[in-house]
């Protein structure tokens, strides 16, 4: 089995293509009226980057991907791949999926069971009118990339989940597309294999320099793989940015709540401190950066692992809260601690000593990572 490292990248790429989607809208008309699935979705995936559509199920991320692929047609908007316009409602352009020159890995892998591994991988070369030698060498090269060269004659049904995934990847890459679409490609693998494939996909993408559009509902996967994440909800793009920015400094409340664990503590804005505001909560006063709105009713947001144990004498400082330990769970690397006061609860991730339930506890929150959002009608996350 040859390693991916000693393999040359694709030849003949003059310029890697970007993916550009502008104001994509789509509604399904069913028996009970029409449902909007995409509402003016716009984004641009930079050439050679991994661009991820992330969101809860039903948020429109898969529909968006399928529109880019040409498997579905938006009602309105425009899609460009590089300088090719492949869809435009205004100009009446709709290029079929088979003419977009994309590679795609499906959620179910969609390995054709009546073919061998080699037949599966060589299929996309059928339309290219290649000589037999060139064809075989391309198939070989694609299978080498995913480390499955030895299985070229294996019937497709006799593959494990991980092998099917690699075949799907080889098949998507064999025609040397500049754009690779990945629809939840890791969701059918077990945890260990998922971790391995995640690294492998990222390495391959870097080596080949293709632009990858990746769809997932798994935030951890998105954070690990992406150069840029577009977070989607209810058919709209909520926020676009690099993983770190979305995780640490989200602009939107939905982003803060969707990515990772989050505390939203109800409070009131009582003043200003530096470039932020001070919020009064049941646990104490905290400073944080203000995100939106000017109303005094606000929610303090911070992540459980951005809190630490504080010495008692620091109570009253602008980053320290106090409460009673309500529940503790030992997690190994850290402890999950629920602290309660006046009917409000916050979750903290505190390594080290496991606090006793009923114990009084002071905690400090890193003001760098405290944000203040406008109060929402939704109940705060525990």
């Amino acid at each position: 089995m040859s390693s991916v490292h000693d393999h040359p990248a694709w030849s003949g790429h003059e310029e890697i293509e970007l993916i550009f989607a502008n104001e994509l809208s789509k509604a399904y008309t069913g028996e009970r009226g029409s449902v909007r699935v995409l509402n003016a979705v716009s984004f641009e995936a930079a050439p050679g980057s991994v661009f991820t559509l992330l969101g809860p199920s039903g948020c429109g991320k898969t529909t968006t991907l399928r529109c880019i692929a040409g498997l579905e047609q938006p009602d309105a908007g425009e899609i460009r791949l590089g300088d090719r316009k492949v869809f435009s409602s205004r100009e009446g352009i709709q290029l079929g999926a088979e003419r977009r020159g994309l590679g795609m890995v499906f959620q179910s892998y969609a390995i054709w069971p009546h073919m061998t591994v080699g037949e599966n991988v060589s299929y996309p070369l059928d339309g290219l009118k290649l000589g037999r030698a060139e064809r075989d060498s391309r198939v070989q090269r694609a299978l080498d990339l995913v480390g499955l060269a030895a299985l070229v004659d294996r019937p497709a049904p006799n593959l494990s989940g991980g092998q099917q995934q690699r075949v799907a990847l080889a098949r998507a890459l064999v025609a040397e597309p500049q754009i690779l679409l990945l629809d939840e490609p890791l969701s059918n693998l077990d945890a260990k294999l998922r971790d391995q494939m995640r690294r492998e996909i990222k390495r391959l993408q870097r080596r080949l320099g293709v632009t990858a559009l990746f769809v997932t509902h798994d935030q951890e996967e998105a954070l690990a793989l992406s150069d840029t994440i577009a977070l989607m909800n209810n058919g709209e793009v909520v926020e676009v940015g690099p993983p770190r920015q979305l995780y640490d400094a989200p602009m939107h409340r939905f982003t803060a709540g969707f990515l990772g664990l989050a505390n939203f503590v109800p409070g009131t804005v009582v003043g200003e401190a530096g470039d932020g505001v001070v919020v009064e909560t049941a646990f104490g006063r905290f400073a944080g950066k203000r995100r939106s709105g000017a109303a005094p009713a606000a929610d303090l947001f911070f992540r459980p692992h951005k809190a630490s144990l504080a010495a008692d004498d620091r109570a009253g400082s602008l980053d320290v809260g106090t409460g009673t330990v309500a529940e503790t769970i030992f997690l190994g690397e850290t402890n999950d601690v629920l602290v309660e006061r006046d009917g409000q609860r916050v979750r903290l991730r505190l390594p080290g000593r496991l606090p006793r339930e009923g114990e009084r506890l002071s905690f400090a929150v890193d003001p760098e990572f405290s944000l203040v959002f406008e109060r929402s009608s939704a109940p705060p996350a525990a």
């Binding site: 795609m104 009546h114 299985l151 070229v152 004659d153 679409l181």
Partner: protein, 574 residues
């Protein structure tokens, strides 16, 4: 899409055109003339049908026959499905084979075998009863009750296949829960098992009511000599000069429309019922070990009864048919008569008759109809489920393909006479008109079969091909079609088996040069049930048994081939 429009046109040609001519024909009251030759339209046929008391006798006969045969057939099927699938009765596999054997016996041949057993003059069972001094127990098959008996018994095997699946899938914990609650076997069957299967059973009942209402074989074989007419035999008789002087196509059309409307109503209820049935959760994806109800002290007597019934349904008629085919003239089975056994009838069949042509016709007609129906059904299935056209169009296509379900065979036959004596397509009197009529007859069932198969193919398999640069055509040819192979073969064999069995369509459309097996047996039978039609019946059954045995063989073969391929692939891995 071009393929979509073409398919709609083909289906419309196969169903709507014949129906339109049938409706037109019903307004013509000029016996001896075809609709196309008529000079004036009239409501006379409808007046006659409504005012003639014979119509109401016909209705009553049809209703009693239909209800009686459905009750007997479904009752037997349910009893056997429960015994075989849910209890620890002995010899389950043998019982299963026994119950499905009549599938391979065309109903006309099946009724003939029962005539040999139960006719009032020298029916073997009646003879035995008289010899035993039980003359009062003899049964005259030439009666409505006789028709119900034969149709019900033959229906049991078809119905078994339909009702056994839900019995098999039923979650056994439901029955166990009832047992824990202190209910006995009978109470559990009555209070839990049957009610939870109600949607499936109701669908089967409605479906077979339609089948019985339109069937021609049994009423044609037993009812016509007994002068007990139902709609299908009446429509047939109206077109045959030997029964009615001049063929009265107008009256036949009007009767057809009455029958068609009744069938359409039931099919509508059936569709509603089956759509509704999906909402009942009887079949879960959850796997469970099949657990069987212990019959306890009833195990032995129930086994004995079940085997006796299966012997009566399957073994007895077939043995009688074989016996008759070996006798130069009728002799009751006895050791003494064994000396008369001869294969003369079989030899004569091949020597004296035009059997070669009949077999060629049958093969050509059934294979053509099988291929055409299967391919059209596969196309319909793909278009209904996957075509990139608005959902409303696809459901319209679905309804159009389902429509023939409501058209009785005898009505298809009649309307095809009209079509091909009207249109300038010179196939009347050839096997091709029969083949096309068979496509109409079986397109609804086969489309359903192919849709089930198409649904098994994940859309992503087709989409992956499109992303790989293949258009719709290449995707269908390289991906969809190969993946449908097993379903296509099954569907083809299913159609061929049914086409060979089908009498009503062929009997309306055959001529001396386009005779097929079913019509050959029929015309031999018209000349009296002797050794030769028995022999031809035995040969037909043999051929159908072989065809029925094919699909499992094909599946086994495919599995073997795959294993071989796997074995060959192993060294490459090392």
């Amino acid at each position: 899409m071009l393929a979509f429009a073409a398919t709609v046109l083909v289906l419309a040609y196969l169903t709507l055109v014949p129906l339109a001519l049938l409706v037109y024909g019903s307004f013509i009251d000029e016996p001896g003339r075809l609709p196309i030759e008529a000079s004036a339209l009239s409501l006379q046929n409808y007046v006659q049908v409504v005012t003639d008391p014979a119509t109401y006798r016909l209705l009553a006969n049809t209703a009693v026959f239909t209800i009686g045969a459905t009750a007997l057939g479904i009752g037997l099927a349910v009893a056997f499905a429960w015994l075989i699938e849910r209890t620890d009765i002995w010899g389950r596999n043998l019982l299963l084979v026994g119950i499905v054997v009549p599938m391979a016996i065309p109903n006309m041949i099946y009724s003939s075998a029962w005539i040999l057993l139960l006719n009032p003059q020298n029916g073997w069972i009646n003879d035995l009863l008289r010899q035993a001094g039980l003359g009062w127990l003899t049964f005259n098959i030439y009666s409505l009750a006789g028709m119900i008996l034969v149709q019900g018994l033959s229906l049991a095997s078809h119905a078994y296949l339909l009702v056994a699946a839900p019995f098999k899938m039923l979650d056994p914990t439901w029955e166990e829960q009832s047992a824990i609650a202190g209910k006995g076997v009978a109470a559990t069957l009555w209070r839990v098992t049957l009610p939870s299967l109600k949607p499936a059973l109701l669908a089967a009942i409605i479906f077979f009511t339609v089948v019985n209402m339109e069937t021609f074989d049994v009423p044609g074989t037993i009812g016509i000599p007994a002068q007990v007419n139902v709609f299908s035999t009446m429509i047939y008789a109206a077109t045959q000069p030997e029964y009615s002087g001049l063929p009265d196509y107008g009256l036949a059309s009007t009767l057809s429309i009455v029958l068609l409307l009744a069938a359409a109503c039931l099919i509508w209820v059936y569709q509603r019922q089956t759509r509704h049935a999906k909402q009942f959760v009887t079949v879960t994806g959850k796997s469970f070990r099949p657990r069987r109800i212990s019959l306890g002290r009833y195990r032995l007597p129930l086994t004995a009864i079940a085997f006796a019934v299966v012997a009566a349904i399957s073994l007895l008629p077939v043995l009688m048919l074989i016996w008759r085919s070996l006798m130069p003239f009728y002799m009751a089975p006895s050791p003494k008569a064994l000396g008369l056994v001869s294969l003369k009838a079989y030899v004569d069949l091949f020597a004296g008759y035009d059997l070669g042509q009949v077999l060629r016709n049958t093969a050509l007609m059934s294979i053509t109809a099988g291929i055409a129906t299967t391919l059209l059904a596969a196309l319909v299935a793909w278009l209904v489920l996957r075509a990139p056209v608005p959902a409303g169009w696809r459901s319209m296509l679905n309804r159009l393909a389902f429509l023939p379900m409501a058209i009785p065979s005898i009505v298809i036959g009649l309307s095809f006479i009209f079509v091909y004596l009207t249109l300038p397509i010179p196939i009347y009197g050839t096997i091709w008109i029969i083949a096309i009529a068979m496509v109409t007859k079986y397109i609804a069932f086969s489309s359903g079969m192919m849709m089930a198969a198409q649904m098994q193919i994940s859309p992503e398999l087709e989409e992956a091909s499109r992303l790989a640069g293949a258009g719709w055509g290449r995707t269908y040819r390289r991906i969809t079609f190969p993946l449908l192979t097993a379903a296509l073969v099954n569907c083809f064999l299913w159609v061929v088996i049914h086409v060979v069995r089908e009498l009503a369509v062929a009997v309306m459309l055959y001529s001396s040069r386009s005779a097929v097996l079913s019509t050959k047996v029929w015309s031999l039978w018209l000349g009296g049930w002797g050794a030769q039609p028995s022999a031809l019946g035995v040969l037909t059954i043999l051929a159908l048994v072989l065809l029925l045995g094919l699909p499992p063989t094909v599946i086994r073969l495919r599995r073997k081939l795959r294993d071989l391929r796997e074995a060959a692939a192993v060294p490459a891995e090392a």
